[in-house]
Symmetry: C2
Subunit: 326 residues, 2 copies
């Protein structure tokens, strides 16, 4: 069984990497940009280069799915770069191929707000993909970069699914029917996503969970079972959205970036502006095996569990990453 | 009479500055950014600094309307900086005050395409001002930077008029009823604009003119007279959109920027991709006096002509530029 987490943004450290090994994580999709410009994203990549140099026994960068399989064979965790916003390409479609060459394999078209490409889930209006957005989706398809619509609004998401010639991903969100968070996804979106070969990664971020930090493993896994009944287990995976050891200033950066002089509390509030506590059954990377146990307890068979814990993400990455990189 | 042109983007040279003097231009709003980032915009400002140093007898930078009046008294042309796109502030509201300090006094919220703030006239859908757009309009109001919606779509323009606490401008466009170019403005927009104290600058760019390059002075001035009848002469001025001595590569940059790998021909076409020839009555800056003559010929009185040729823009700038710059 291969174990893949399709979204994390920890305060990266040897401790976190060791916990990944303890939890049996073969691959983690890590966020390298929330609002970072191209140059700032390159700085984040430089920081990762120093980590790969410092901890060669624990982690390696994945450019391909072969690298993910090699990491597993070597007992290391493959790190897959992603951006939660198209800010790294700024206004420049040519940066898609440049960033792909540097390892970026997943990019969201918008993060909560309107971007140059698409609309975020927090905007009141969603006009769908922009003129630049349609061009960039075609370019991402060409080079083999996955389109992620986790933080995007509904119409933009449906248009990305329709426009993209490769299946898209929602790396970290849950069904809106289970917990009506603004960021969780409607039946319309989930049906279009999965029927086109796309993937949904279930989030463990408390604001996306029914009962928040008090959510139980059983409730979470029953939700996964219901989702599998509706859309098929082969389209499901984990995207924990684990933001471990981060100070509250990081969630403020995620939410407010540089776009407002006032603090925007997003899914939080002025009374609870920081990261909420993790649910008891999923404190950090060491708890991945508990998710597999929880899936077994609600009736998934071994093959389905292997798929949801990582096999489905690997099969998706195989289909999406084989583009043309100059 | 003060003479102000509210939009030019020439291939700046001593020749052009001498023609401004010959045409009696006291102030020109010059574009310093189409798709430029902050750093690239600063380069454009550096280029202007070298021009001010090279031609101190011909031009001076205007930070205030007092500087415009001083330029007239000194026999020089005041240069007023504007951006046709919010690209210079990138994703950073803090850059509004920084750029204001460097002299930026007018900024469009979008240029043909969707921006982070508002929608451009070439997008199929227009959701209005974005979350960041509403914050930035308030910041522009605070520091005293004019909101320009020349290239923006209808709903975004109406929301900017409603949201802005200072009157806004459409520096270069004509009424859609006279010539139905995509960029020309509807009666709804012109009524909302002028009834809120905003200004319209009439464009002499052939794609915005009835009969294009063949437009006559009489037709242009009769259109101004009709517009004055509808909305009041006090809200009208000139924004010639003169792009003198520019190679075709510049119009390609304006239209395509970095957002598409394919060329977008905008108001042109594959057969006619470059700048169209100017109408015979307005070849360059030396022809401004002919506009005043044309206005007299269609019946405007001296005071109205003085207003349209520049007085109305100066009065507008007096109302808009008196913000709080830290």
């Amino acid at each position: 069984m291969i174990c893949i987490d399709a979204l994390q943004y920890a305060n990266w450290s040897e401790k976190v990497f060791r916990q990944m090994r303890d939890g049996g994580l073969d691959c983690v999709h890590v966020t390298i940009a929330y609002h970072e410009t191209f140059r700032e994203t390159v700085l984040r990549i430089e920081e990762w280069n120093r980590r790969f140099e410092a901890f060669p026994d624990l982690i390696r960068l994945a450019y391909t799915t072969a690298d993910i399989r090699a990491a597993k064979a070597e007992g290391r965790t493959a790190i897959l770069y992603g951006a939660q916003n198209p800010s790294p390409i700024e206004d420049d479609i040519g940066l898609v191929e440049i960033l792909h060459r540097l390892g970026l394999r997943i990019m969201q078209l918008s993060y909560n707000n309107q971007s140059l490409l698409a609309t975020g889930a927090y905007e009141a209006q969603d006009p769908g993909l922009t003129r630049m957005g349609r061009e960039v989706v075609a370019e991402m398809n060409r080079v083999g970069m996955a389109v992620d619509m986790s933080h995007s609004a509904e119409r933009s998401t449906l248009e990305a699914i329709e426009r993209s010639t490769r299946p898209i991903a929602i790396t970290h969100a849950n069904p809106h029917a289970w917990h009506p968070a603004l960021r969780n996804k409607s039946d319309t979106v989930l049906r279009a996503l999965t029927s086109s070969g796309g993937m949904l990664g279930f989030s463990l971020y408390p604001h996306h969970l029914k009962d928040g930090s008090g959510c139980s493993l059983e409730s979470f896994c029953r939700m996964i079972a219901d989702t599998a009944d509706r859309y098929g287990a082969a389209h499901l995976g984990i995207g924990s959205d684990l933001c471990q050891d981060q100070p509250d200033s990081v969630v403020e950066w995620m939410r407010t970036g540089r776009w407002s002089k006032r603090i925007d509390f997003g899914e939080g509030s002025a009374e609870a502006p920081g990261f909420p506590p993790q649910p008891a059954f999923f404190r950090d990377n060491r708890d991945f095996p508990r998710l597999a146990e929880g899936l077994a307890a609600v009736g998934f068979d071994k093959s389905e569990i292997a798929g949801i814990m990582g096999g489905n993400w690997l099969a998706y990455f195989d289909r999406v990453f084989d583009g043309t990189d100059g």
